[in-house]
Symmetry: D2
């Protein structure tokens, strides 16, 4: 009901505010026997961590995760897993400016009216800091999918403001601060971001996530289709305003003869569908794109109102990402991993007995 | 698990195959006291019904809904509501051609591998016919939201293939076969579709749905955000490949100073957010766009394989929509209605006691 | 939320009032490939059907079930299964007497205050007639558990009013109108019931249900323990006021040295636990007992109030069971079957990979 | 799926093993504005805490709870609440004796076969220590129900082994180590327990829990009836083998004329039903009884097998409760509180608009 849980079998429930004592989550439903430890999780957390480049917030959090339960002698036990990250960088700060004003573009106004009682420090529960626990939980899913199925998930930034990538070289994604797969784009983005920072403004971004070696058969029509649940998981990331599967909005102008992915004994001839047909994975790569809005915390003055309905102006000070899209790559990967993991387990609950004589065709793309 | 249910409080579960005995659904959690009867539902069903224009499938179904329970003396009782539509147009047809071949672009291949046991007649459960029950359930949600909150939902086709609308005149939407709000576009679309039909091909479309008079506070962060659940509901419609909230993918190129919707005592100055901030409704119009792929049932020959993995070719005969987007308008409205209804009830479960002193600002756009 | 669904993987949702147009249910999550047809279901429905002995209500319902979807060519397809039973015996009856009076011991008072809007005809949704759909859904679970696991479920009446059974001979259960496993008790019960009928009164009963060949490992601690979910499923049957697993309330006076079931290489030495340890099935027989209250529909006059709060008296006329326990046997079996089926599927979702070297010991009792 | 969550609106998810780093839980769905702090929770935790009398385990845990999130400036915010208790008394102990042997009457055998991978230290997840978090979560529910509705919950031990209470004086419950409401029974129980301790054996118990001032209308038929969910919540407590609502198993021998609670304008004339009719609260006191088995950790030698299936004997050493029923009183209260809280919120989700003209009659008992 209150929506802090995602997944039905592999269930992740999170808690924690930006400037409270700590963040945490419970993973319930992780299969037993998965080899995991804090070090594996930390790798993903560090990829999301603020302060790794000059274009991400300079707030410094150790983001050190502790496993409190559910892992014994280096393996998951099948019981519920408790994870906690203490908040260490809670500078005693003056929040009087934003305590009673609604920052435009933020969740202040809506949280205030929904709950009546808001932790205004750094956005409270609506802060992007909350996504640290999604990344931690995603590490369990990624590790299991990799170990068990050879399934690989990766993401990259495919457009920053007006500048899109032109090629995808996955080998360079992790070696630049933008998760950029196009060597030419890196420089352009760097320059663009410098200018933007001078203006005190921010910009949107487009992120692409891909899953390879996905088994055929994941997804539960008619409502919990795999694409529907991926859309939910990705749209649920802070700042996301659009989700595409495969060709996405390009399909509007396509003809049927052009869009449908024909089949041959050697595999599909194309992958316009993005790996999902009728809401069920086809074995091809799952490809999704998301649009992230520019962060609203900028040093350009804006109009707003206060809790008494009076007109006010506001400049957001402090350490903020000029492009929230950058740090969203590990989050999007985590959400995709959690969704695929959950659907794999859901599918085997009902369909573990299915024996299909037909050969599964190789997924050519 | 098996995903034939949507909603947590206002829960809709559907059943039924294209060419089985009938379709049906159970609505569980509808508040008591709603005045409703078959005639009200039929209005929406007739809007979705095939055969209403020459550009939709000529299959003729009466689509006559029967309320079996949960409504007594013209009002809902609060108990579970059973709805059934009998399938009347089950022509005894020769399915031998598609029984063993996987139609490209369809769910045949994925259903076959997931379940091992497929009702191949007319797509079985993956047929768009299944959406009739969504529309029927949506009628309950629309009626309740309208009666109780004055909330209005409408949708229209905003682009057909390469031709987008240029204006929105809501008064003409229901008086043309395209749910088109732009008088100029109607003619162009009509001509475009004639040509397409001659070629035996199909085309994609873009649909827009809008909700007006939405209360502030709907949406359950951090996972069941209102935008996340709308994305799921809309991506779960057959053929949908992309979902946008508000400015959608346009945000990629926007700056923060441009995107954030500033607040004044008279209301928000813009609605780039599409009525949702931090995953919670802001009181502004909720605006969503979806991309629908061209139907894969076309008379242009395509390559495929059969259940033995052998190469085959296929032409889809029969009565098919050259643009599935057209009939998708009432379905998208229904999915939005079900989602908003569910979130209204979810919100009051937890937050019915919230008293906010701050005046809710008028939603200017 | 509104609670007309049971199960998480094998999900059963029901609708239907006693005197409405019909009853129905959707089974979502039934594995594909199960051979089933209306005839198999009808066997169980006929065991529950009223009118089979002079001690059950003489209302005559054909209770003929129709499968509308989810079964194709004699096998389940894995998609949602729609079942409907039309109400045929809706005598046009005068309900003016109970329309405005709350029958004591019935749900009239509580439904009235909860929903404000009550179908008073024959108890509406609170009627025992609703359980027909549970029995129908249970048939699918029983068939699957039997075919797949060799698991057998049976039940019997173990006490009628003051007279308890003394032996259990399962071979005679189905050949007497009481589901009685003790030949000596049958006669006594028959005589006791004749007397009771003359007095126009009713009496309580105790029912026992047993599952044999249950796999080790079913149950999801700490809240969805198998015993907890069985307790819920059985307490949710109309008129049930108590549930016991294994020795039940006898454990209050037992010592630990007496209660604990010791293990030997040949199996457990006893089964005080009723087949469940720590909320998880042990492989021994699952044994549960339930207490059913005497029906409140009796021809002995009682005090009550009407909807205006005025004092009234009431005699319930009509066709009523003097001992609702009798017909509860197939219902209790169905609820146990649904629960075990659901937990089997739930367990394999998470734990399908578990390989245990230890031999599973034979369940001696 | 994995069942570490209870509740649908007021959702409690727990984690933690007996001898891991800590226990914790997330409460999701608690309404905002509830005044709460660690001190309030600690009162309940201390009532459950081991070591408070010589008849409970002498293991000493501070059981000090920390609120990590969801409470701001002394009030709940409506976001998810994170609670943690560190395990401080993790004596480095020699577990070699029970590591490979299955303690009879314990969950060792079933956890081993279900998960394949067991934290054997002190029972791991199956330890009664896990219930500390249920008590902590229950404090939130109790506080809210009390503040908002004036609803009161209390429990007591009604039978210890063969010795039942004869009167109920609620004023003395908290002033004796047995939660005993009968001054005469205290002495007898004390003597009985001394003897039992000498023998190294244990004994069962019966606990009664009561809720007063319950609103009419809680419970969601037909499956999530209030009695069904109470049965699940109580049967889900470690060692519980039976649950009764109202007269429970006594109804088997009752006549309808005796059992049904007649209504008068002044209220119900009796409360055989235990406050629930048709699965919905009637406004009368809710009364439930549970049977707890004797703990299986006793110093009387028992037969068992090891993980290789070999015959073994075992004596459980260490600090164990000779009667687990004693400490179960606060746990049972917590489970009842969580269930009622959840159902109150569930009911208002669907039925908040219900206006009933009929006066709610005073609940005389």
């Amino acid at each position: 009901m209150a929506g802090n849980t995602i997944g039905e079998v592999f269930k992740v429930t999170t808690f924690g505010e930006s400037h409270g004592l700590g963040l945490g989550c419970i993973i319930d439903g992780c299969p037993p026997g998965l080899e995991i430890d804090e070090a594996i999780i930390q790798v993903d957390l560090d990829r999301r961590k603020p302060g790794t480049s000059r274009f991400t917030t300079q707030r410094r959090e150790a983001d050190e995760v502790k496993i409190l339960s559910g892992v014994f002698e280096g393996k998951t036990t099948g019981t519920s897993i408790g994870l906690v990250i203490e908040n260490t960088d809670q500078r005693s700060k003056d929040y009087s400016d934003i305590k009673d004003k609604f920052r435009p573009g933020h969740a202040d106004y809506t949280y205030h009216h929904k709950y009546g009682n808001r932790d205004y420090r750094g956005g409270g529960r609506s802060s992007a800091r909350e996504t640290a626990m999604r990344v931690a939980a995603g590490s369990f899913a990624k590790a299991w999918l990799k170990n068990k199925l050879g399934l690989e998930i990766f993401g990259y930034m495919s457009q920053l403001g007006p500048i899109a990538i032109e090629t995808v070289d996955t080998s360079i994604i992790e070696s630049n601060p933008f998760f950029c797969p196009d060597a030419n784009a890196i420089e352009k983005w760097d320059e663009y971001m410098r200018d933007l920072k001078k203006q005190g403004d921010s910009v949107g971004a487009k992120i692409t996530v891909v899953a390879k070696n996905v088994p055929v058969g994941l997804g539960e029509p008619v409502f919990d289709r795999l694409d529907a649940d991926i859309a939910k998981a990705l749209m649920g990331i802070n700042a996301v305003k659009g989700v595409e599967i495969g060709d996405g909005f390009d399909v509007v102008e396509q003809n049927g003869s052009q869009h449908r992915d024909e089949l041959t004994p050697e595999g599909f001839k194309s992958n316009h569908a993005g790996g999902i047909l009728g809401g069920i994975s086809s074995g091809q790569d799952i490809v999704a794109h998301i649009a992230l809005k520019p962060t609203s915390s900028i040093s350009v003055e804006g109009e707003t109102i206060d809790v008494n309905g009076q007109s006010q102006t506001l400049i957001t000070k402090g350490r903020h990402d000029p492009c929230v899209g950058i740090r969203a790559v590990p989050i999007a990967e985590a959400m995709l991993a959690i969704t695929l993991m959950d659907h794999f387990l859901r599918n085997r609950a009902q369909n573990a007995d299915v024996v299909v004589d037909t050969p599964v065709i190789p997924a050519s793309k």
